[in-house]
């Protein structure tokens, strides 16, 4: 057993961490919150040049051939300064779905330029009624000549306001299927919503959008299985980010406790606050530890190996991670609830991560429905 990063991974962590600290401090995220895009395509392209966008994709697809652990390293380190570029939305949600479900010409057309940082992707899988069930799709793909006409509404499409292509799930005659749809396709209407964490998401209405047969990823009916797998990666990615968020909030809080004075002493000398700090530390280390298991096992094709640790990790984010965020805010006192202080930005990002890709009850129920759970052996 080995929980350490190998030398290449250590280098990656350092490179991404340095980039975040030096080139994208929190002030950059702040300044881009009200921007129409919310991030900088030039920085996205630079990430492509640095090879970060190709990490989880095989070399034959123009990628780096890394494991999910490498993705997690990028996500955790970008999270430390809230770097706004859509790594999770485009690489994990869009890219990894495309890589698994698409064919060579689809890879060449859509994945390769994303890996270069020239384009970005989005995954339009959620619907108003679906609540974490990727198979609950009411959008339809009706056969139309050699192609399809897609009609329906998708919600909370991360990076959907700017992605070049959207991967859309729709019910075709053969079952839930995935289609690549250009964002500028006629009949595709986008409304942009600001999210509480300072990001953006799209609400997308598809009015009989025509696509060719070559827009379909894989066979008809293969969509739910692919999306299920993507959701595991996505939940693991949220946890990786959550580790970055929680660690940063913990450190900011410890620093604040060691600096802020009231009643003539540093408030970090008050025992009740010290004990709170220790419990925050414990929850953060529990999150980090189970996250390691989730990252390593995310690549496992055996869902019984993969899922239980990912669910356990997302559950720890929903409980311990959220608790750390709450306490960090509380211990910052009055300034913590102003928009001026950074701690609140991390707080809201943690809540967003919690709401995405399955909440605690979703993951508890999933964990408990694994046949291994009912067996006495743990």
């Amino acid at each position: 057993m080995d929980f350490e990063l190998d030398p290449d991974q250590q280098m990656l962590a350092k490179t991404v961490g340095d980039f975040a600290k030096n080139e994208s401090p929190v002030a950059r995220f702040r300044s881009l919150r009200d921007d129409e895009i919310g991030y900088a395509p030039a920085v996205w392209q630079k990430m492509g040049e640095l090879g970060w966008l190709g990490i989880p994709f095989s070399e034959s697809l123009g990628g780096f051939g890394g494991g999910f652990v490498d993705c997690a390293i990028v996500l955790e380190n970008l999270a430390a300064t809230l770097v706004p570029e859509p790594y999770l939305a485009s690489v994990v949600l869009g890219g990894m779905t495309l890589a698994r479900a698409g064919n060579a010409s689809q890879h060449a057309a859509y994945l390769a330029p994303m890996i270069e940082g020239e384009t970005s992707l989005a995954l339009a899988y959620a619907e108003a009624q679906s609540r974490y069930d990727v198979g609950a799709v009411e959008t339809t793909a009706a056969p139309d000549g050699a192609g399809y006409r897609i009609a329906g509404e998708k919600v909370w499409v991360l990076n959907g306001h700017h992605a070049d292509q959207l991967i859309v799930s729709a019910e075709a005659p053969g079952g839930v299927s995935l289609f690549v749809v250009p964002r500028d396709a006629p009949g595709l209407h986008v409304k942009v919503a600001k999210t509480i964490d300072g990001h953006k998401a799209a609400f997308i209405r598809l009015e009989d959008v025509a696509v060719g047969a070559d827009a379909r990823l894989g066979e008809e009916g293969s969509g739910t299985a692919v999306l299920d797998r993507t959701m595991d990666f996505a939940a693991a990615a949220a946890v990786a980010e959550g580790v970055g968020i929680a660690s940063t909030m913990l450190q900011m809080t410890i620093d604040y406790l060691g600096t802020r004075e009231q009643f003539g002493v540093k408030i970090g000398s008050f025992q009740a606050l010290q004990h709170r700090g220790v419990d925050m530390y414990a929850e953060t280390e529990l999150l980090r530890s189970i996250s390691m298991a989730a990252m390593v096992r995310a690549d496992d094709d055996d869902s019984s190996v993969r899922r239980s640790d990912i669910s356990a990790a997302k559950y720890q984010l929903a409980t311990g991670g959220i608790w750390v965020a709450q306490q960090a805010l509380q211990l910052h006192g009055g300034i913590g609830v102003t928009d001026e202080h950074d701690i609140g930005l991390y707080f809201k990002r943690m809540y967003a991560l919690n709401a995405l890709f399955g909440d605690q009850e979703h993951h508890v129920a999933r964990f408990a429905s694994d046949p291994a759970f009912a067996e006495a052996a743990v």
């Binding site: 919503a193 600001k194 509480i196 805010l329 009055g334 609830v337 709401a355």
Partner: protein, 392 residues
């Protein structure tokens, strides 16, 4: 023991319940039924309507504009306002500085200030905290220098909620730096239109401009604006804090969030059925409602004491602690029930029906465990004052 209201009290309840929808403008009724996101203007409008009815200050003495109701009627009135989702009135004038002036003000102060608080001609805000003085309020540094018949005030107040809508501010200022820190503080009323005052709204976590930084640069304040005597400010502050505690029980807001939570859960689905019918979600909501009931009973005990003209018992000391935690747990659960839709702000009607929005309110209530004496400070005080645990 008797936990019911009398027939007369129930008749009064019906009177209030019938009056509200008849008196409230149609657009505000709609907001009350929906998101409840009233503007400060809505609150001012409602304030004036209540003023004309004579119901704006139930807890003031009748001769100064109060209603003459007993504690039960005041409670019923407040409960009906909350149940109707009426706009909250600004608390700083009616609930804080007004009662203080009633108790400690000069006759001239009563005449000058009270009528305009009642009529909503003047709104107030509170100037206590400073950047370096939060939990340790007594360390405040804003100074009021004696200049004969007036003071010259210099310094910065922060957390001055709704100062941008206010006409006056009541402040704690340091008038004697040479004595023990609590002893040199004075409670001072300052006209925000005075030269040298600058109000800078700050954005909150929830992206609402709820509070401000307020700066004082050689501001001239007449000495007749002192309440309770020079260097008596700490006594005034303590009198107000005790009063704030029952306000901070958050009974009304908790009831509203519980209702909203159930409304959302009744039609939002998980695993193909309304969440309110899912045993796990149903149980989570029920647990908070059961806790709310216990908390409500503590409030009722305080009410019954007031009704008998008794000092509220020591158990009222926990109202702020329990109530603010509960409102946070309720909004946290609402965020969870909303699922991905909790990612939104209320002004994004693209995302979801506006009456389901919870995010900004959730963010707003994060402050509840901090203001009015943080819950950590509350515990310090209860440990010493009520439990009489030893000092370190």
């Amino acid at each position: 023991m008797d936990l019911s209201f009398t027939e007369e009290e129930e008749a009064f309840r019906q009177e209030v319940r019938d009056w509200i929808p008849a008196a409230m403008p149609e657009d505000m009724l709609e907001t009350a039924r929906g998101a409840g996101d009233f503007t400060p203007e809505d609150s001012a409008t409602w304030h004036k309507i209540l003023y004309e009815k004579g119901w704006v200050a139930p807890h003031w003495p009748e001769e100064l504009g109060g209603t003459g109701w007993d504690a039960a009627r005041r409670f019923i009135f407040a409960e009906e306002m909350e149940l109707a989702g009426a706009p909250p009135l600004s608390v700083f004038g009616l609930g804080m500085v007004g009662p203080l002036i009633v108790s400690y003000g000069t006759d001239a102060q009563k005449e000058r200030f009270l009528p305009k608080i009642l009529s909503a001609e003047e709104f107030w805000c509170q100037g206590y905290s400073e950047p370096g003085s939060g939990s340790d309020l007594a360390s405040l540094r804003t100074t009021a220098e004696d200049a004969g018949d007036h003071f010259i005030v210099n310094g910065q107040k922060t957390w001055t909620s709704f100062a941008q809508y206010a006409d006056w501010i009541f402040c704690l200022v340091r008038t004697d730096p040479s004595v023990k820190k609590q002893a040199g503080i004075t409670f001072l009323l300052i006209d925000l239109k005075s030269p040298g005052v600058q109000v800078k709204p700050m954005m909150t976590l929830g992206h609402t401009p709820a509070f401000c930084d307020t700066f004082f640069d050689n501001v001239k304040v007449p000495k007749e604006n002192v309440v309770g005597g020079i260097n008596q400010g700490w006594t005034m502050a303590k009198a107000l804090l005790g009063h704030e505690r029952t306000l901070l029980a958050m009974i009304g807001p908790s009831r509203n969030v519980l209702q909203k939570l159930k409304r959302i859960a009744a039609h939002k689905t998980a695993n193909g059925r309304p969440m309110l019918e899912d045993p796990v979600w149903r149980a989570r909501i029920a647990r908070l409602e059961m806790r709310f009931r216990a908390h409500l009973m503590v409030s009722y005990r305080a009410l019954a004491d007031q009704q008998k003209g008794k000092m509220p018992g020591p158990e009222t000391s926990i109202l702020k602690l329990v109530g603010t935690k509960l409102i946070q747990e309720l909004t946290e659960l609402a965020m969870e029930v909303m699922g991905e839709s909790s990612l939104t702000w209320y002004n994004e009607d693209v995302c979801l029906p506006v009456e389901e929005s919870i995010g900004p309110y959730f963010c707003y209530e994060r402050a509840a465990t901090i203001y009015g004496g943080s819950n950590e400070i509350q515990r310090n005080v209860i440990a010493k004052m009520i439990l009489q645990l030893p000092s370190s």
